[in-house]
């Protein structure tokens, strides 16, 4: 333990702590801007300057390791003045259009200006002008709001992708891709981890609310919506509910009040994914070919594979993601069964994800004749729609999904967190091969937030080796192991650290909250509790899925299933 004094108060903290950590331990708040726990710790923004007795100059608390006997003053006149001047300088080149900003009232810069009592910005002058990059399907970058904190660069590096960095110098410095390219022209996978790391409104998703609203307002259109599992685990945060509160019922009620004609659960399609992917696994495992089978639910991961590991394209499961499986079923089976012309169906998906917008726009996802998914909105976009419609979310009653696609098993629910797809697949594959029930449905070896998780299973007398990776950097470590000769039978990969619960379309968790709570674990708990509470926890036991196969597809991986529920992938350039 190291003993030091902060503002005269004795503090004792473990070695390796920074002044910032130590101060937080005793409830002293030091303002930060570029610091983001586990992602960015570079002392660049100078907002956390403190006075250390005897030191030559003010020190950045986020990178200054504690030492025995030091005396720190976080609130001295010198520290306050320095911070305030720095903040005013940052604000002087920031486009201060807060009222119309996507991050209005949810902005760390705005909060700091309030906390530090900035009532005047002394530095006038010309602001740098930038072009907005909105060429991709998913991300928008507006550098006029950027404060050069580099959190997005660190988040992109943390994913092992690094398509953005700081370019030029001095006043001309900006965060950009190489050679002035748009995000649509580089190896960006649209995971959106940059968005959820941004303290201000410089990064956000492509706004698809207007087209969805137009469809809802058009009486000719039958507007169907599906919601991914991770959405219900985080949507409540946008309305002030405690982190980790599952809000499934309120979300369904809100969607009905927004005017969607049918509210379905993507989890039902997740159960179908397990039937298709599980069958595909059994086929490949029996023939011992194209192993490891790698999951294909995460569009960020799929795009990553196409750009950076095209040699694994044959290993990707050809089964579409739950969102696209649903999209295809809605415009085929559902349209026929309910007697609605598929041309009049408008299919919306609410996803925790920005890459899903790209997936929805893929030309190969049009097995119904037109685009299977017409619009994919993020959790944040749904929250905005709910707010704009004047719906009092917290007071909504709990309502049920519409049938026949509102019934899902616990297996479909846990898709939203890392390890969930693998666990769901194991529950089904085991019972199909063993022809007897699995004793313990909780496959804990693949749960949790370790970057790479492995398990060796014994199914029907055979050894099955599985692995789970989340975050594309971990994926690359795992794939390099496979390339070096390590054998796995089945691999689950999710592009975002923690899986979909921490997707790039989820509510933004600010730096202060991230320092206090493990938001990934909290959101994951919401999903595991829903799984635990389900009467049916295995995909193959879903009666609606059973009926779907009986009435329409015949068997998993049948000819018809292949036509509608499977896809193919394209090698893409890294640069």
């Amino acid at each position: 333990m190291v003993n030091l004094k902060i503002n005269g108060q004795e503090v004792s903290v473990p070695e390796g702590y920074t002044i910032l950590d130590a101060a937080r331990e005793v409830g002293i708040n030091i303002p930060t801007l570029c610091y983001l726990k586990d992602i960015n710790q570079i002392g660049a923004c100078r907002m956390c300057l403190v006075e250390v007795k005897g030191a030559r100059a003010l020190q950045a608390a986020c990178v200054y390791p504690v030492a025995e006997g030091i005396e720190v003053f976080t609130n001295s006149e010198k520290a306050r003045n320095a911070r305030r001047t720095t903040l005013e300088l940052i604000l002087s080149n920031h486009e201060r259009k807060c009222l119309t900003c996507i991050r209005n009232r949810n902005c760390e810069l705005q909060s700091l200006a309030e906390e530090l009592g900035v009532d005047n910005i002394r530095f006038e002058g010309e602001n740098t002008k930038y072009e907005i990059d909105d060429e991709s399907t998913s991300l928008v970058r507006d550098n006029s709001k950027c404060i050069l904190c580099r959190r997005c660069i660190a988040a992109c590096d943390n994913q092992g992708i690094s398509v953005i960095s700081c370019v030029n110098r001095g006043f001309s410095t900006e965060v950009a891709a190489s050679f002035g390219k748009s995000m649509s022209e580089v190896g960006c996978i649209y995971c959106g981890q940059c968005i959820v790391s941004c303290p201000v409104g410089a990064l956000y998703e492509k706004n698809d609310i207007p087209k969805v609203q137009r469809a809802i307002d058009n009486p000719e259109k039958h507007v169907v919506v599906q919601t991914a599992p991770a959405v219900r685990a985080a949507l409540g945060e946008e309305f002030g509910l405690p982190m980790g509160t599952p809000v499934t019922g309120k979300m369904v009620a809100a969607l009905r009040r927004l005017g969607f004609d049918k509210v379905f659960d993507t989890d039902t399609a997740a159960d179908v994914t397990i039937m298709e992917e599980g069958t595909e696994f059994i086929e490949r495992f029996t023939k011992q070919e194209k192993l490891p089978l790698i999951t294909s639910c995460s569009p960020g991961w799929v795009k990553y594979c196409e750009h950076y590991y095209p040699e694994f394209i044959d290993n990707l499961s050809s089964a579409k993601s739950p969102m696209e499986i649903f999209g295809a079923i809605i415009k085929s089976y559902y349209a026929e069964k309910s007697g609605i012309d598929k041309e009049n169906i408008y299919s919306v998906a609410i996803m925790p994800c920005t890459s899903k917008k790209f997936e929805a726009a893929r030309p190969e996802h049009s097995s119904s004749g037109s685009q299977d998914i017409d619009a994919s909105l993020t959790t944040r976009e749904l929250a905005r729609m709910i707010k704009q419609a004047g719906i009092n979310f917290a007071e909504l009653p709990d309502e049920e999904f519409d049938q026949p696609f509102g019934m899902a098993t616990g297996a479909g629910v846990i898709f939203g967190t890392t390890g969930g797809v693998m666990e769901a697949a194991i529950r089904t594959v085991y019972e199909i091969l063993e022809k007897k029930p699995l004793d313990d449905l909780n496959v804990t070896a693949v749960r949790g937030l370790d970057g790479i998780k492995e398990a060796a299973l014994k199914i029907a007398g055979k050894d099955v080796k599985v692995a789970v990776a989340h975050g594309t950097k971990n994926a690359s470590i795992l794939l390099d192991k496979v390339k070096a000769g390590e054998h796995y039978d089945f691999i689950e990969i999710m592009a975002c650290p923690g899986g979909c619960i921490n997707g790039g379309g989820q509510p933004v968790v600010d730096s202060k909250t991230r320092a206090k709570v493990n938001f990934k674990a909290e959101r994951a708990k919401a999903l595991y509790s829903e799984d635990e509470a389900s009467t049916l926890r295995k995909s193959h036991e879903n009666p609606y899925v059973q009926a779907l196969y009986k009435e329409y597809f015949g068997e998993p991986c049948s000819h018809k299933a292949h036509e509608l529920l499977h896809t193919h992938y394209t090698k893409r350039s890294k640069y």
Binding site: E131, D133, E135, D157, I161, S162, V163, I164, S165, C166, V167, N168, R169, A177, S178, F179, G180, K181, S182, V186, Y575
Partner: protein, 163 residues
């Protein structure tokens, strides 16, 4: 987004071999990017996307990081030098005598920025520090030719000699 025009890349097989050898000799070293970029600029005269991509790939460093380094340091150039290299002196004496306006006029005429080269590869513009000809201020040079005591109106006449 606006894209800058750039003369076509004309790297030879020999140049590529040279660069590969340089990359090989620095592989695995920490901070290898800067020395490799120096050598690459010696080999090619500038650092276009083709060269930066080879370096990124060879050193296993993200292209965005390489590009960040190249745009940070002024001695690295993204553009080749033109057949006629125009250098406008922005030293103190030349600057107070109006070389800034002359530079602006040249930029406007060629429609390129300082450090860039026209798409046909004929002209490039550099802004230099004092070249020691303050008595002739404001001064510019085109390759080895020196032009002094200039006004903005002289610019067209100078171009007439090279076009």
């Amino acid at each position: 987004m606006e894209k800058k025009t750039m003369p076509a890349f004309k790297g030879t097989k020999e140049q590529e071999e040279q660069l590969k050898a340089v990359i090989e000799s620095h592989k695995g070293q920490e901070g290898a990017a800067i020395p490799v970029l120096h050598k690459a600029q010696e080999i090619y005269g500038y650092l276009p996307i083709e060269v930066q991509t080879m370096i990124a790939e060879g050193l296993n460093v993200p292209l965005a990081e390489i590009y960040g380094i190249v745009t940070f340091y002024t001695q690295f150039s993204l553009y080749p030098k033109g057949q006629y290299q125009i250098s406008v002196c922005l030293g103190t004496a030349c600057y107070v005598k109006g070389s800034g306006d002359i530079l602006e006029k040249i930029k406007e005429r060629l429609n390129i920025d300082v450090g860039q080269c026209t798409a046909d590869g004929r002209f490039s513009i550099d802004a230099t520090r004092c070249i020691g000809a303050c008595g002739l201020a404001p001064v510019l040079t085109v390759n080895e030719d020196v032009y002094g005591r200039l006004t903005v109106d002289d610019v067209d006449g100078i171009f007439a000699k090279y076009e």
